[in-house]
Amino acid sequence: MNLLTIVTITAAILTLLSLFLLILIIGMRIFTDRSLDHEADFRKRSIPLIKAFLRGETTVEIVTPILLKDENLALLILMEEADSLDEEGGKKLHPLFAALPLLRKEEHSLTSRLWQTRLHAAERLGYLGDDTSMPALMTALRDDVVGVRFAAARSLIQHGCTDAVEPILSSLDIPGEVSQRRVAEIISSLGPRAIDSILKVMNGPGYDDSTLSIAARVSGILRSERTIPSLRHLLKHPVANVRLNAVRSLSSIGDHAVIQDIAALGEDSSWEVRSTVMAALGKLRASENIPLLLQGLSDQEWWVRHNAGVALVLMGDQGITALKDAVDHHVDAYGRDMSRQILQQNGLLEPTTEALP
């Protein structure tokens, strides 16, 4: 076969394929436009009805037939509405969620081979599900895919399932700061109901470091005074991350009785702990620890120096005076620089006029 034949045949095939593509694109565009119009129209009709239902101006029987015209889109709209409301408001939507015949389908989807299907099912069950869905969600906590486990954990907490706290902690015991943060956030959304389980973890034997870190973090987010003794105990934990979270949580709770325990970690081997200690002392307005904060201004880590400076400003006049004094008299050049920077950032000192190196 010569060059011309090959080129001609290839070009002819590509021309036909291009024409086919163009027709396909036009068809797809028409289809997408129609879908968007349908969605806009459905939203226009259903959202006012849902809002009227929330105000008690209409009944489930009136709203349901409209929602059933496109149950998947209706579910999405109801989820959006539920998210824009507080917990109590969200509960008012339960009859509408229950009216959608999707519960069993989503429970079944939790066993799908496709992880994305399981992921979305786990999330939707947080809105659609009832008490009968809890066992399926508990099983999903052991899913191979971490994302599905997270979604199941969120849904269980969304249903106020306090029994799920421990299984969540054990199933999402994933190393890494970010994962721990995510788990702490999920559990803390349970509110004070999570405290008993958290105390059980902090006081119980056999829990690993990351679980203790998460528990400590949750205590701080919930600012529960009941957890103070356990957190004080964790300040002496050998793992830096546990100490760090204990310090952070104690400062969030704001009990002045723990100031000296926190200050004792001012020379901790971990700079992250030291940096958190400086921030905590500022938060607690621990003016008796100004010498420690001045010492922190010359720490080898930038964040420790920065947090020490910010903490001094938070102390008020006494701290600011000490900081102003440090601008000229601190023994360490880094300490002098940081004092100047913090004062200027707070409008307490005029900048120098010469160019900086």
């Binding site: 080129v7 590509l14 998210d83 940081m338 920077q341």
Partner: protein
Amino acid sequence: MTTIHILLWLILAYYISLHAIYLILVLVGATQARRYRRGITFAEFRRIGESPLTMPISLIIPCYNEASIVVATVRNALRLNYPQFEVIVVSDGSTDGTIDIMKESFHLRKIDRFGRKHILTKDILGIYESPDHPNLVVIDKVNGRRADAINAAVTLSRYPLLCIIDADCVLESDALLHMARPFLRDTGVAAVAGIVRPSNGLKIVDGKILQNTLPKTLLGMNQEVEYARSFQWARIGLCRLKSMLCISGALLLIKKSLFEEVGGPWPQAITDDIEFTMRLNRHIHDRRRKDHARLVFSPDAVCYTEIPEKIGQYASQRNRWQRGTMQALMRNAGMIFNPRYGMTGLFGMPFFLIFEALAAIVELSAWVLMVVCLTLGIASGVEIIAMIFLAYILGVFLSLTAVLLSESTRLRAANWCDFWRLILAILLDNLGFHQFHLIIRVIGTFQYLLGRKDLGAVMTRNGNQSSLTPHTP
């Protein structure tokens, strides 16, 4: 068979390989994007946005003589939906009053601020903060190119993630949320790239995108097609194949620790983004950190950048890109076909060399060869026309595939009028515009080989482009 016929066969094979690889990349990109979308949960970005625990970001905007647009860009940046971030604007020795306009618009006051100096930069003349916007920092420094400005900003940044954008960039309000997501899910993610699209035609008021229409000129439309085809779908595919060798400087989110390890972008680079991405890949492999430092593409993070709609500016930009590509490849030539660098060395770098850096020379050679064949009577007119038509239809087919894939996303043409203009641009792309582009790139290649290392003419911003709200004192 004569030597010329063999050459014609080789060129045909090159053309078909080039388009076939691009088609594969586009399709792989589409599969990846679909997979990504299916893995997004309903409330995911709301949670990231509301969480006080989301990793904070330092958003860096280097600028040089951008007085006409910098205020609007900064306003857009300050409006972004993200729980904790700072905006660091660096005026890299601007002479058009950029600093004065910034001072006036944001009531800046000078402060002394000190950071860890991991990377040496040109002198800083002043650092300013705004009482109105506590998360805004402005740095005035001696001119040292874009890379130097970025490095200076990194020195003074506070947060563990760095986002680098250009001074003419407009980010979609949720762009940072989309880009931060991979870091929250996988500690091994080193850097995230996003989609860069032309901003010409956008209607933006006070930093907020109100209307998304396409550029008005044919040159703008041609680039629109090119951005969708090459910078969107193909790059997602390249990323999937661990061959992401050019994260656009217009939108990059990277871990600060890794940025400092690599040493930041090279101030002498002609295109610092390409050179930095290649060096980043090299660093990841050299340190045997390939499992702990992945480059990811976020198909939902969109940044709009101004594209040149004047032929002279376009030529200057593409000339610079070509020289920058050559320079980056030369500096990292040791990675090409080197199994030590895995897919990046065995596929990405050779692809970049053969089908990006040398594509223009091969293609122009084909045109010259066809003229020679026709003149010497070696090939008939019909054969030459058939070859030209094949080259044309290959380009059309590839571009239509990109449009088809874009139709299923929110980046589709906003209305039928724009859609037909896009199709028209695809049909006209290979009838002059593409060939002009080739000539610019060939000139760029030779200029690089002859030692030209400057950045070319600075692109002037047009009042109508990107409709950024003009600065009103």
